[in-house]
């Protein structure tokens, strides 16, 4: 989805000092969406980062030890399909998801952002070529692409990161391009052209800071989708591989017993839900916070 959907309505005049970057964070925090988004995201991030340390002390079992028969109700949240502690695996299961999602998003942002800015800045045939390629990649269903790539290359971490990152790239490129087009006709870009500022420096110094708003919104959105996509692949059995403790994989492994021992599924579902909602709220709040800061009218 492109940014503008999530961009809130630009009501009210921007404060005069809005051009200063530090204001963005403050304005994100000033919105209830922003606060809730930051809190939700932070909770899950803290859980994912420190959970692995807590797993054994809290449950008495490592994420790989057997606590009971499969799908038993012993312990706080029972056991999983192999009789391991659901809680221990849950605490251990967010780190890789988070790491891969962030890396995939970063990759997509770098590739997509660079292509989009280049297309908009270069115009002409290079723009056409990049955008037509974009259209083609967009027409290839994301999941089909992922399925094929993972089947060919194997379900390795870097494959997940590259596949998800690259499928995001065209969408990010579109956003970066249209954001760039919005500023490319600003006279300060023309001024830089006039002063014969090197082109890479125009992209880096004149354009990039001025599309940082839409790009950061896009980054938040793409992070949300990356989390969803990587968790989905794990859920399909194509992402993280056993015996890794991973939320998506836990759902895949334990959903057979959803009605008997739901915790193996529900804890992970809940964590993924909180995380994606958090990052999406954050993205929306950033959108609102940066909507008016590009170039003031």
């Amino acid at each position: 989805m492109s940014t503008h959907i999530l961009t809130s309505d630009p009501t009210g005049a921007p404060p005069r000092t809005s051009s200063k970057p530090p204001g963005v964070l403050r304005r994100v925090w000033a919105q209830s969406e922003g606060r809730v988004g930051i809190v939700l995201t932070a909770v899950v991030v803290v859980l994912a980062v420190f959970g692995p340390l807590l797993a054994a002390p809290l449950t008495g079992y490592t994420p790989y030890q057997f606590a009971d028969r499969p799908f038993a109700h012993s312990g706080v949240f029972g056991t999983d399909n192999l009789g391991r502690s659901v809680l221990a695996r849950f605490l251990d299961g967010g780190r890789l998801l988070l790491l891969y999602s962030v890396l995939a998003t970063a990759l997509g942002m770098v590739v997509g952002g660079a292509l989009g800015m280049l297309a908009a800045y270069a115009r002409g045939w290079l723009d056409s070529v990049i955008m037509r390629l974009n259209d083609i990649v967009l027409a290839i269903p994301q999941l089909v692409f992922a399925l094929l790539a993972i089947t060919v290359l194997g379900p390795k971490g870097w494959v997940l990161v590259v596949v998800i990152g690259l499928t995001h790239a065209p969408r990010i490129a579109r956003v970066a391009r249209s954001a760039t087009l919005r500023v490319i006709n600003e006279d300060y870009i023309r001024a830089a052209e006039m002063y014969s500022v090197p082109r890479w420096r125009i992209i880096g110094r004149e354009i990039l800071p001025n599309i940082a708003g839409p790009l950061s919104v896009e980054a938040g959105l793409r992070l949300t989708y990356s989390i969803g996509a990587i968790a989905s692949l794990s859920f399909l059995g194509l992402g993280m591989q056993p015996p890794t403790a991973d939320w998506g994989l836990m759902i895949n492994e334990n959903r057979i017993a959803l009605s008997v021992q739901p915790w193996g599924v529900l804890l992970s579902v809940f964590a993924i839900a909180v995380l994606t909602i958090g990052t999406n709220l954050l993205a929306d709040a950033i959108a609102r916070a940066t909507a008016q800061t590009t170039v003031e009218e």
């Binding site: 028969r69 059995g237 015996p243 057979i256």
Partner: protein
């Protein structure tokens, strides 16, 4: 294009013996379970004792069906294929519920003294479903078809020594072998060895089984009607059997719980208790000889060092394996196959976990600082990937770092099948010599451990030529001891076959062959009345 029946999904042929347990699909969710277990009908009682009642329709839910389903007597691949084969055809011999070979179309099957010629005496008065009588020529035709060099069928791999099949009398057929084989009866006593009439056309299947094919939609449904010419004394009792092919365990269990089907084969072991607690449902829990070994290639490092193999076997906590992987539904394994074979050496002491000893052996083999291995696994059968994980966890205690590489079934059975250094596999109930021929002699078609031991080879050959059961058992024991001490398999247990059916279904019996629902012998099944 080649004729359709030749086209199969990758590894179709190899998959055949795996077909017993349905597809290799991962377990599904149990969505409707709770919803339906509260449904109506739980309180009713049915008359399922006493003399069988005639009539009614038996609906059986199966998984693993596909558009490649077949009714070919000799090419059963999946669960549904087996159900069709068992009910449409009869082999010369067949194993009963207790895994004892019983005469079917042959009243006797006897070797000569050298075990190089076996003579089958055919049952008289048997007619095919088209009314034509069973004649020796049909048997000759059947085995020509099975061992066709251009298109060898499922059991052909066990019949490589079969030179010729000739009619020797109005009711006798001779099986002439190129080398002695004392267990040919085991090789031909398979569901995939059904006798078909000359000119057999798998599209219009004709057999001697209790049922005939009424209609058949691959991947969807099969309708069987009683065979009017059936020779057997038991049944069939029902008017119709419907085999319904479902996508996965989830769907089939939900169909059972919502009474859309009367019986289902193979339910996930972790859910047996839950389904069993539904008072409408009955569980059929059969001990079988099915095993899911880890396979170590004895010709490749680190497993070319016998101490490493021994260490690996010692790190396994077998009871934990059975508890975690099979939810307790299984028997302990002792690194030897063929638990149902009368010759299985039960007196060899059970191997148990001994981490200290394992570490010692590893250190002696030069892996004192730990060992890192890759275990290739695939969802080829429920429990396989799970077993890999449990093993990896157990091996940690002996400083063995097992990294699990999960591939999909197609890759697993692809070009590298039987070549993996350390992998898994699964086998159904077989007798020891049959299994040996299939997997642990030098030229065996499935020698996944690359076991190549001249002494073992000699023992196997001797046993195959030995008709005296006691002597043969002794030879077998010697061979098994070699496998126990040095073999490349880690055989940690034998899994049970667990099916479920509605309590109004009568005549289901536990069956050790591993063929679900009492060996798919639907001729003895009947539908009980509400009492």
């Amino acid at each position: 294009m080649p004729e359709p029946e030749h086209r199969r999904r990758p590894g179709a042929h190899r998959l055949s013996r795996r077909g017993l347990l349905g597809s290799g699909a991962a377990l599904g969710s149990l969505g409707l379970l709770a919803a339906c277990s509260n449904g109506a009908g739980g309180g009713e009682h049915f008359q399922v004792e006493g003399p069988p009642r005639k009539g009614g329709i038996l609906r059986v839910g199966l998984t693993g069906g596909s558009a490649a389903d077949t009714a070919d007597a000799h090419s059963p691949v999946n669960n549904g294929d087996i159900a069709r084969t068992v009910n449409l055809y009869d082999p010369l011999l067949m194993r009963d519920d207790d895994y004892v070979l019983r005469p079917r179309l042959a009243t006797s099957f006897k070797p000569n003294a050298a075990a190089t010629v076996w003579t089958a005496t055919l049952r008289t008065g048997v007619r095919f479903s088209d009314g034509s009588p069973l004649e020796p020529e049909d048997v000759v035709y059947t085995f020509k078809r099975i061992t066709d060099k251009k298109d060898p069928k499922v059991i052909a791999s066990g019949l490589t020594m079969l030179d010729d099949v000739v009619k020797t009398g109005p009711h006798t057929v001779e099986f002439r072998l190129s080398e002695p084989n004392s267990v040919l009866d085991d090789q031909i006593g398979q569901y995939a060895g059904g006798i078909v009439p000359r000119g057999y056309d798998p599209k219009k299947p004709i057999g001697t089984g209790p049922f005939v094919l009424e209609s058949f939609a691959p991947g969807e449904s099969t309708v069987l009607k009683p065979n009017p010419h059936y020779w057997g004394k038991t049944g069939p009792f029902v008017d119709e059997v419907r085999l319904l092919s479902f996508n996965d365990d989830d769907a089939v269990i939900n169909a059972l719980l919502s009474s859309q089907v009367d019986a289902v084969s193979q339910i996930p072991l972790a859910l047996v208790e839950v389904i069993g607690s539904d008072e409408r449902m009955a569980i059929l829990n059969s001990k079988t000889g099915r095993w899911m070994p880890f396979t170590m290639r004895v010709d490749r490092p680190p497993f070319d060092d016998v101490r490493v193999r021994q260490a690996f076997r010692l790190v396994v906590d077998r009871q934990q394996m059975i508890d975690q992987v099979l939810s307790g539904f299984g028997q302990l394994g002792n690194d030897m196959y063929g638990i149902l074979d009368p010759a299985y050496p039960k007196d060899i002491p059970q191997r148990t976990q001994d981490i200290a000893k394992a570490k010692e052996l590893l250190a002696a083999a030069g892996h004192g600082n730990g060992l890192k291995v890759e275990l290739v696994t695939a969802p080829i059968q429920s429990g396989v990937v799970e077993a890999a994980q449990v093993f990896a966890q157990q091996a940690k205690a002996a400083d063995i770092d097992v990294s699990i590489r999960r591939v999909d079934s197609t890759t697993f059975f692809g070009d590298d099948y039987l070549q993996w250094d350390f992998a898994q596999d699964f086998w159904n109930s077989r007798n020891i010599l049959g299994q040996t021929v299939a997997g642990t002699v030098k030229d065996a078609p499935f020698n996944e451990t690359h076991w190549d031991n001249p002494r073992f080879e000699r023992l196997a050959a001797q046993a195959r030529g030995e008709l005296d059961e006691a002597k043969r058992a002794k030879l077998i024991r010697q061979g098994q001891e070699m496998l126990f001490d040095e073999g490349g398999y880690i055989i940690w247990g034998f899994a049970n076959q667990v099916d479920a059916y509605q309590k109004y279904v009568a005549g289901m019996k536990e069956n050790a062959t591993g063929i679900p629902l009492g060996g798919y012998n639907f001729n003895r099944v009947w539908i009980g009345e509400v009492s």
